[in-house]
């Protein structure tokens, strides 16, 4: 019995909690990608770098707050700086839309033209981020590090395995849930949100109904920038901020959006968790876990790790391929143009 509890605690500590946090971060990223796809109809390759840009802006404001002695008590100062980061990222997105994408929209260019243009934007954002904050790792989490410490948990429960809950993980989940609720409320209950869905569903009919495309596009960019910044800041708080890592997140984020069904917000969230849990469960070493559950003589010698951690990108990719092969529209029937 104790063994089973130990195994469960171990599993929660190394798979469940990290998977939930990572899944929430991916889901927020995938929501941004999927919204851009639904409304503007292209895969935005600059989304990872938009995340990096928004996070950088937030970090700079955080540092400024810290230098002024402003803090958020037990919570990270970055949460206080987040709205400013979002605003800066939104301004940047709108500027890029005005400078780059609006031209191609007017010409009704092919989606792939937008994708290549987004590669150009990706270069620019990447350059700007590295120019301002440099290519190195930045840690900007402050405040209380843990909600539950492994040692305290062991002492409290008497189990040999400890359960740690870092505050950044809890913050990630709480913020992600709030954001998703707010987003769905916006999309399903407000006039503008419904107009966005209508525009995404049938552009011509939306025009006939008097929906202003310019406003829809603007609101979409603002929301995408907000989602990107929030996802980026949560990821950075949980792990650390490094421009290149954010660029690499593009792959699992796209995988999440496509697996869920691109263009479908519910799918993006489901996809985020599918990808995150696949990555974590496949790269987790089950040696200790099985050690608790199996009788002593059957305990495994090796790490019992399906794949080395370095192959986590491969996991999202394989899932992506399987979904593309067997259900190209994704789990939640997105739109396939």
């Amino acid at each position: 019995m104790v063994d089973i509890l130990n195994a469960l605690v171990l599993f929660s500590n190394f798979v469940l909690i990290p998977g939930l946090a990572y899944g929430a971060q991916l889901a927020l990223g995938a929501l941004g990608v999927t919204l851009i796809y639904a409304v503007l109809r292209f895969s935005n390759f600059a989304h990872g770098d938009l995340m990096a840009f928004g996070t950088m802006a937030t970090i700079l404001v955080t540092w400024w707050f810290q230098s002024m002695g402003i803090s958020f008590g037990v919570l990270p100062t970055a949460l206080l700086a987040l709205p400013f980061g979002i605003a800066i990222a939104a301004v940047m997105s709108l500027f890029m839309d005005r400078a780059v994408y609006s031209f191609y929209r007017k010409k009704r260019a092919a989606p792939v033209t937008f994708v290549i243009a987004s590669v150009g934007v990706m270069f620019i954002l990447n350059g700007v981020v590295r120019l301002i904050i440099g290519p190195d790792d930045q840690r900007f989490a402050d405040g209380e590090r843990f909600i539950v410490r492994a040692r305290d948990f062991e002492a409290w429960s008497g189990l040999s395995e400890g359960l740690a809950l870092r505050s950044t993980q809890a913050i990630t989940l709480v913020v992600a849930i709030l954001i998703v609720i707010a987003l769905f409320w916006f999309l399903n209950r407000t006039r503008m949100g419904k107009a966005m869905r209508a525009y995404s569903d049938n552009e011509d009919l939306a025009l006939l109904s008097g929906i202003d495309p310019a406003r829809v596009v603007m609101v979409t960019w603002i929301i995408a920038a907000a989602l990107a910044t929030i996802a980026g800041v949560l990821y950075g708080l949980d792990k650390s901020f490094k421009p290149f890592t954010y660029f690499q997140l593009l792959l699992p984020i796209f995988a999440a959006a496509i697996v869920g069904g691109i263009g479908n917000p519910v799918g993006a969230i489901a996809g985020g968790f599918v990808i995150a849990f696949s990555e974590v469960t496949v790269t987790y070493a089950y040696k200790r876990f099985l050690g608790h559950l199996l009788p002593e003589n059957l305990a495994p010698d090796g790490l019992v790790q399906l794949l080395s951690t370095d192959y986590k990108f491969a996991v999202s990719f394989v899932i992506l391929v399987v979904v593309l092969l067997f259900r190209p529209t994704g789990l939640f029937r997105g739109k396939v143009i």
Binding site: R197, N202, D204, L205, S209
Partner: protein
Amino acid sequence: MSFLIGDGMTGGYGSADILHDCTIAVEKGEIAVIVGPNGAGKSTAMKAVFGMLPLRLGHVRLEGEDITALTPQARVAKGMAFVPQTQNVFTSLTVQENLEMGAYLRRDDIRGTMEQVFDLFPILGEKRRQPAGELSGGQRQQVAVGRALMTQPSVLMLDEPTAGVSPIVMDELFDRIIEVARTGIAILMVEQNARQALNIADRGYVLVQGENRYTDTGEALLANPDVRRSFLGG
């Protein structure tokens, strides 16, 4: 002076004109129907009236005001509503949301208008929470017409509203359209089912190759032996 008139319209998409000096007009509370063989430019004439086709010559006037230069969106704001032939509902939105989107430009209380639409098409009231994409073809057409009525238009333009629906549904849809016309709305519609459409039409236009061939009341056109022979199959 007609309420809405596309007067001497000439134009097309490229260098070749599709419409040649074509005139279409409709009065308040009246139903005007455009019929003709395939490729006669029926839908094109309707699109020209709605501003979706560049005109080389001719004018479109609404209540005497020249609106030739206005975009379709601006015409919506002027009280014109258009129901396209295909893709005329937001499939992923619920019936009610479709109607709300129809009233997007209105800032006043739209609940009364929505009740009127539900009175006209009771099935929509029943299915108001269902995505429009899940409805049958006839019900979708009702959503499409309902969406257009939400702007409280003075003109309702329908592009082949009965395409692909069963005869029974077609009759019912025509009945509803007559009801709409009785409320004082001008109705301009393009129809493939010429005989049934002329039956309910106050005025009919027979177009051939982008030109007016016959223009008369619906009754007179149905009685005209030439029209019967050439366009109504005897």
